[in-house]
Symmetry: C2
Subunit: 412 residues, 2 copies
């Protein structure tokens, strides 16, 4: 008898009708002879509504109370899911994070799981029940309710799969799986059957929204094989694994991503002296601004320009911070460009293949796409381009790296 952990996101349980539909899917899994543990997020936009309520009584609500408040969202959805399943003639029991044994540290709103005591879950599974666990939450040693932060329900599911040694960890979502590119941009994009943790991590941080990085890191650490699939279809989705079995040698690039949520900040005429960069990036880090890409021009006559990209949400803060240190570093001025996008190719196959960068730049040159910044890692190459060029760039890169490979594979 297999043990399957399933996770359903907020959009899959947004209404009573959707909850009933998910309940039927859970029951089908149970009736196939599996033991089933289900992690559920808060219904639809419940969490946002609760945060709005908090903001109406407080300009700066204490994080402990925020957790006490928003954790009710998942408590509601697990209770209602258990009711729906029971109403269909199967036994289900709901559990809060505390009841499910999730102990976390005390970093409210972004707690880390310290340990899981799955005794109650195991006990109820033994009784033949379907166990419905509230995602995203736990308690600390003082019995304060905590939440795990963004993507927390995915982490709950992956952690449960690890500790229960589940045979499968299925993440249900409103898309079919992970795609070689965003199908809204690249019409030839296709679903990926298998993707490696490393690749998924890069793609998640480069704009692919299917899963949060943190849960993938967790899965990678504990070797949990994740199956991302659609709540609304029966087809298999994408497996996220340590090492993709299929065509290991052949697939060089797993996917192409486009991120339009970034902006570029340039500090002009910066004296090219040791310590200047440190001053700039320390000031930015001190204001909790995450940088994505950094570029320093070749120095001319002792001066250089320093550019970096940040999330658009941080742009105002980044501008103010850099302007406040202009005098200190002896630079001239700050310019902003939010009309950019970052286009990347990702694939662990790059580790053993040279020439990918050259192919990428060649493809972009043919498309007359100007490259403003470049950043590379062992398994990805990212280019900052003008926003208007981004979709065209992604389509041409997808044709060069994914579609050509697909054809070659088909011909083998």
């Amino acid at each position: 008898m297999s043990l399957i952990v399933q996770k359903y996101g907020g959009s899959s349980v947004a209404t009573p009708e959707k909850i009933k539909s998910v309940a039927r899917r859970i029951i089908a899994t149970k009736e196939e002879g599996n033991r089933v543990v289900v992690v559920v997020s808060a219904m639809g936009d419940t969490t946002d509504s609760l945060i709005e309520l908090a903001n109406r009584v407080s300009s700066n609500p204490p994080e402990r109370e925020v957790d006490q408040l928003i954790s009710t969202g998942e408590q509601i959805s697990v209770a209602v899911m258990a009711m729906a399943i029971n109403d269909m003639g199967h036994e289900a029991i709901s559990m809060t994070g505390a009841q499910a044994g999730f102990e976390t540290d005390s970093s409210h709103t972004k707690a880390k799981i310290v340990k899981i005591k799955p005794g109650k879950i195991v006990e109820e599974l033994k009784k033949g029940k379907i166990v419905i666990v509230a995602g995203f939450q736990g308690i600390d040693v003082y019995e304060n309710v905590t939440t795990l932060g963004r993507g927390g329900s995915d982490t709950t599911a992956v952690a449960l799969a690890a500790v229960l040694k589940a045979d499968a960890c299925e993440i249900y979502t409103d898309v079919d799986g992970v795609y070689t590119a965003d199908p809204r941009i690249v019409t030839n994009a296709r679903k990926i059957d298998e993707i490696e943790y490393e690749e998924m991590l890069e793609m998640a941080s480069l704009g692919a929204r299917v899963m949060q990085s943190r849960s993938i890191e967790f899965a990678s650490k504990y070797g949990v094989r994740i199956h991302v699939r659609s709540s609304f279809k029966q087809d298999e989705g994408t497996f996220i694994v340590k090492e993709a079995k299929s065509m290991m040698e052949k697939v060089v690039i797993r996917g192409v991503t486009v991120d339009k949520e970034q902006a570029k900040v340039t500090i002009l005429h910066v004296p090219d002296r040791p310590g200047i960069a440190a001053t700039i990036f320390k000031a930015l880090a001190g204001n909790n601004i995450n940088l994505h890409m950094i570029l320093q021009n070749v120095s001319e006559e002792g001066y250089t320009d320093v550019s970096f990209t940040v999330m658009k949400a941080d742009l105002k803060k980044a501008r103010a911070t850099t302007e406040s240190i202009l005098d200190e570093i002896g630079a001239r001025s700050v310019t902003i460009d939010d009309d950019i996008a970052q286009v990347s190719v990702v694939g662990t196959g790059m580790k053993s293949h040279s020439g990918i960068a050259a192919d990428m730049f060649g493809t972009l040159a043919r498309e007359k796409v100007n490259i403003e910044m470049i950043s590379t890692s062992e398994i990805k190459i990212s280019c900052v381009v003008k926003k208007e060029d981004a979709d065209r760039a992604a389509r041409s890169l997808h044709a060069t790296f994914v579609e050509v490979e697909d054809k070659r594979e088909a011909n083998d």
Copy 2:
């Protein structure tokens, strides 16, 4: 330094604005130099909305899951209340029933408090914090969330006041206190300064809606002095106490109540044999129908009529039950009268005063109110009358027993 337990009902915390207003009131109490523990109900009609949600996925939701679901209502309101107080510059911490140490039995949706471990509350009070406790809820020994049933938040407050040996237990509500009669019916009704537990219990069960019987029983058992008062005014309300100090000997009748929520069922032509009544009332009890008043006519030629009153909500069930046993008991038919009301006078002073019944019947006779049924206890007399006569009956009884006493007292 006094310790004050306050309880605010759902209508007092129905909106963010009302929550802020209550927060200011709590802070004022704290600033007067008191330690403050506050019990809060769910905001407005949250509980009803949650039950509606349950009904949309299940025709008969398991009670454990109902508790898991509806307990979120109070968890939301305590978190938001703590946020509001913190935003006003005072330290507050919210607690669920579990965190506050409420252990109950496992009778979901109507759990009884087994024990309270107030350690965490005491600890936070020592740190100078205002403690906000979720009313109406606890956990059983298996860590299942339980709820205490109707009036549960009042019970939470009274129980906390008992276990913390509080100096005051203030129940805030949308009325000024307990009245000698419903002011909407009897314009001369006045607020009662002090009322005894026994009297309050009778008045609650006879239609006065201020507090639920169960919390008063609890207060009586542990000698908790309750102060029922308005959330919106500063005036003192009504103290519910073991023995009213003032004018003990003089006040015979504390108040007059009218209950229009009952209906009368009459079984006609019942053979007057031993065991027949037992058959009837066993059948009704078996269907969870609570009877309020029972009347058996004088027997004529071996037959009698049996009448009883039930809550209107139970009327359909009561009719079906009695009709189903007509053949068994050999009775003729069942008639229903839902055009009735029960008018009562209540007062512990009756114990040492005779002649109240005579005065009551005399008053009603002068008003040409026909009495259909009579029921008495040591501290109340109730009459069932036609519904159209009920308000007039209440006004005349209030004039006879309350207003006359008030004048006598004023003349002393």
